[in-house]
Amino acid sequence: MDVLANLALGFQTAMSLSNLFYCLVGVFLGTAVGVLPGIGPIATIAMLLPITFGLPPVSALIMLSGIYYGAQYGGSTTAILINLPGESSSVVTALDGYKMARQGRAGLALATAAIGSFIAGSAATVLVALFAPPLAELALRFGPAEYFSLMVLGLVASIVLASGSLLHALAMVVVGLTLGLVGTDVNSGVARYSMGLPQLADGIGFVVIAMGMFGLAEIIANLEDESQRSAIIKSVTGLMPSREDWKRILGPIARGTVLGSALGILPGGGALLASFASYSVEKKLSKTPEQFGNGAIEGVAGPESANNAGAQTSFIPMLTLGIPANPVMALMIGALMIQGIQPGPGIITEQATLFWGVVVSMWIGNVFLLILNLPLIGLWVRMIAVPYHLLFPAIMVFCAIGVFSLSNTTFDVYLMALFGLLGYVFRKLGCEPTPLLLGFVLGPPMEEFLRRALVLSEGQASVLVTEPLSAGLLAVAAVLLATVLLPSIRKKREETFVAED
């Protein structure tokens, strides 16, 4: 079996003492920062990214993945304990998780989330191992036209699945694409939009934008409304689910895993959509739907599993196509490129150790998450209790030093402040910054693939629609866009995202 041999290679890589260590540190740091209220996974990863620069690529990616799961799990902990979801996909967890915590069942809710995440994560890891290689093989046959269309589809899908106004989401993608123009044009060597500044000749750093728009802008927004949070829960007891509980959570976990795995591959809010879908499925299937919203354990088990499965399978398009399914994956691509590795279909064959090492470490990361989090819940509870006014200056310090360390220049610190301002203004105007980030990452490769496609077709733009595969991808994008514009679906979509708020 090919897969088994590959997994063996992966185990060899991931089980090396140093990689195990980085995975553990990643999961620990990710959870520690992720539980801090007001810091989502994107800000967490952006903040911790510079720590991984000195590591070899495999270890760096393993540690980053660990940070990602840790941050996600940390976000769920915060959602359950103080009803403050750090990111949109734990909004659903907060619905019933927080109710459970208020009923004195916080330990059970946290354990359910951890167990559900573990089972879902393990299943999704197998899916990544099974499906990534054939997808990469298919992608190797893609020409530039197919790639361009695939990226268009990716961007459109991310908009459709994101919340907020469609027009502004589209515009934010284009703003992101435009920001991606800054820097030296690879074909002509012209330094575009660099304003004569040598620091901009290599383009704007991805981390600078992420930290500005998600780190600083989030801090400003949080300081706007400084109501004191009440961390009522002092100690958490009663972790282990009873036999009765197990019976109730296994079904939701299984269904959540399937839903999450499928939706996680989609660009955009895959994980978010998955947790919403899982919640409504469980509510429909339940014999006691009235319990949902009042502390139903199924309402924690299902969405948490879906969420984590989606987080795992979103690695598939990132590792095989080089296309980020969400901003976190965009950060991962940025991190890989800093390490000198171009994500894409070649990665599985050319960087087999890296690919399989990361896949196996996903599973190991989930094991760590389980054994680390349940005993350490006391520590997380104490971290949550740290008041925000002591917390945010520390976040700013880590952002500032982190951004400086990217290329050891204070220029990036100023640039981060500028993007903090931009991010805050866009937030005020109701424009979500997430599509901007995806556009920024995909901009340069899109231009490159478009150019190549048109060179090959001798200037016939019709190549994008005459090549069957490319035409198919564009057609899917067009259908997606058209369906969102249909009045009935539009209304439904708005309702869904209103419920989220």
């Binding site: 589209l170 600083l216 004191q228 700013m396 310090v397 402040a417 424009c431």
Partner: protein, 152 residues
Amino acid sequence: MGIRNPRDFWAGAIYLALAAAVIWIARDYQTGSTARMGPGYFPTALGSILALFGAVSVGRSFLKPGAPIEPIAWKPLALVLGSTVLFGVLLDRLGLLVALPCLIVVSSLASRYTRPDLTSFAALFGLVAFCILVFVRGLGVPMPVIGPWLGG
């Protein structure tokens, strides 16, 4: 006829301004042909699309009513961004030992719960020590601890 949706209006205005800048600067870059795109081709195309979105957004703001823009939190905005810039300015000249405390103190003024009490000062000293130990000593980030103006 007035603006009925200020959010749409101002977002659209930003798109239009950005689009104009993008297209204006791209005039200096060769456009080339569709088969051989120059460095100006893609930017001009993007700028035009953005201008279109901007126009739609501004146009829509006169037709469809929408929520007003919530008040801007000037104090946190100025202190958070200002302290970040201040950190950059001070780091190059006076070094980390001055820049970090300034960043922490100035930014923390943005919260109304900040008090000059023992906890705050302990956190300040702990954070500065942590950063110097971990980032400068441990990870080797080349930041001057004591800057050139102080003879570092």
